[in-house]
Subunit: 273 residues, 2 copies
C-alpha cells in the first residue's frame, strides 16, 4: 500500500523525476541515466501499469487523486500530491489532466524476439519527431501490426510526448531497436520478411498490390522530410507508394503509416493455430 | 517592386502583424480584426502567393532573403529584415526557416460554390485543434478530395499552425464554412450528397463497402475525443467505420481522415467531361 504524501514545495528533492519536462535534451539524459519514463493522464498511467511497468512514483493534484486511487493503492510507490500551481512549477507546463507518473523502463526485447511470430511489422528509420513516433504506434496498434523495429537513431517511444500521442499503445505494441543501421535489415530478410520500402516516388508500385497474403512483410518508413535513405531503399525487395495527387508532395509520415497499415493488414489470413 | 527594409528594433510598429505568435487567443482576435493570416517558411509562402493571396508584408532574417528574392521582387509588399534574435523576440519563438509573411484573407466562398462540382467532400464538425485541421487538409488534398466544409465552430484552416501542418494545402483545397450547424447538412443532402458519418462504433458498416462509385459522398468527421454529435450521426444516411483492433479505442482524427480519404477516393470513375 503506497503512501500519499502532500508536499508544499516545488523544490522537494523527491520530485526530481519530474523536473523541466519541456527541456527535451535534459530529459533525454535524465531519463536514460535513471532508466525512467513518464506517463501522463489517468488513462495512460493505467495502461502503463496494466502493461507491467513498475511505478517509481505518482505526482497528482488533489482533484485527480480519487480517479487513480485504486491504482495508487494497489502498489507501493509513493504518491505525491501538490497544489496545481506548484505542479506546474515543477514540470514547467500545465500537466495533462493533473496526473503524471514516473515509471521504470524495462530491458528492451531483441529484434528476433519481437518479430518471432509476426506477420506484419513496421521498421522506422530515423523518425526523429516524438509526436510522429507516438502517432505511428497508435495507427500500427489500431490495425493490428504485430511489432515495430526501430533504427538506432529513431526517437524514443517512451518519451513523454510519444507516450501521450500513442494513447499508451507504446506499452502494448511490441518493439525493439536494431543495433546496426547498416546491416539491420538483413536480419529481417533472413527471418523471411519481404522488405517493402514506402516512398512517394512515381516509379514505385502501388502499395495496394501488396495487400493481403500470408507472407511476412516488413514495411520500411523513413525520416521526416527526406524519407528512406538510399541504402535502405536499395536493400528493399520492393519499393511501394500510396497513390496521391501529383499536386501534393507527400503525406505526413504518421498519416502515410496509418494508410499503409490499413492496406497491408487487410485480408491477411488468420495465423495458423 | 517591394522595398527591403532592415529594421533594428523588435518594437517597430510596422511589425504589428507578427506580435505574440504563441498567444492563440490574442492572435485569433488580431487576425480576425485585420483580416490577415501568417504563412511560415519559404515553401508555404510561395504556395500562398501562387494561390493568389495578397501579401501585406514579409518578415525575414537576412540569410533567408535570397531564397525568396524573386517572390519579394514580384510584388509591392514591404519586406522587413531582422537579425535572428530580434525576429524571435518579435514573434516569441524560433521562426521556421527564418521566413514569415503576413497575408490578406479573402472572402470565403459559399458551401454551394465549393461543392458545386465535387464528388468527394469532407465535412468537419468542430475539429478544434489547428494541427488536426491542417493534417486533415493535407491528407484530403493528397487523395484528391474535392472540397472541405467546416461547421461553424471548427478551427480556422488559415491559423498559422494549420497552414504549416497542411503544407500549404489549405490554399489549394477549396473550403467553405456552413452558417448553421443544426441544419447545415440538409443543404448537402439536397445537393445529392450521401452523408456518411465516420465513427468507431461496432455497429457501423465497414467504410470499405462504400468505396468507389460515381455518387456524391460527404464524409462527416467529428470533434477530437467525443466524435460526431448525436444530431449529425442521426442525420447521416449511413454510419461507417474503419475496422480497427478491439484493443485500441480509436484512431486520431487526422489519421482516420487520411485512411478514409484513401478508401473513398479509390476507384472513383473519372468525372464526365
Amino acid at each position: 500500500m503506497s503512501a500519499i504524501v502532500r508536499l508544499e514545495s516545488a523544490e522537494d528533492p523527491r520530485l526530481g523525476d519530474y523536473a523541466n519536462l519541456k527541456d527535451v535534451t535534459l530529459r533525454r539524459s535524465l531519463e536514460a541515466e535513471h532508466g525512467l519514463f513518464l506517463a501522463e493522464g489517468a488513462k495512460v498511467i493505467r495502461r502503463a501499469v496494466a502493461a507491467g511497468y513498475p511505478v517509481r512514483s505518482f505526482l497528482l493534484s488533489e482533484r485527480w487523486l480519487d480517479g487513480l486511487a485504486d491504482v495508487v493503492a494497489a502498489g507501493d510507490a509513493p504518491c505525491y500530491v501538490l497544489p496545481p500551481d506548484l505542479l506546474e512549477e515543477v514540470t514547467g507546463f500545465a500537466v495533462h489532466r493533473g496526473a503524471i507518473a514516473s515509471m521504470e523502463r524495462r530491458p528492451l526485447q531483441s529484434v528476433a524476439d519481437v518479430t518471432a511470430h509476426a506477420r506484419r511489422i513496421l521498421v522506422l528509420e530515423d523518425v526523429v519527431d516524438h509526436t510522429n513516433v507516438g502517432a505511428i504506434f497508435r495507427g500500427a496498434a489500431a490495425f493490428g501490426v504485430d511489432a515495430i523495429v526501430l533504427a538506432p537513431r529513431c526517437a524514443d517511444p517512451l518519451y513523454r510526448r510519444s507516450v501521450k500521442v500513442s494513447m499508451g499503445t507504446v506499452f502494448t505494441c511490441p518493439y525493439a531497436r536494431m543495433d546496426n543501421w547498416y546491416d539491420g535489415l538483413e536480419e529481417l530478410r533472413a527471418a523471411g520478411f519481404r522488405l517493402v520500402a514506402l516512398t512517394p516516388a512515381d516509379d514505385a508500385v502501388d502499395l495496394d498490390t501488396l495487400a493481403g497474403g500470408a507472407e511476412r512483410v516488413a514495411l520500411l518508413l523513413g525520416t521526416e522530410g527526406d524519407g528512406l535513405s538510399a541504402r535502405w531503399q536499395g536493400l528493399a525487395d520492393v519499393r511501394a507508394r500510396i497513390p496521391i495527387s501529383a499536386e501534393v508532395d507527400s503525406l505526413n509520415v504518421a498519416a502515410a503509416a496509418a494508410v499503409a497499415c490499413y492496406v497491408l493488414t487487410r485480408d491477411v489470413p488468420p495465423r495458423p493455430a
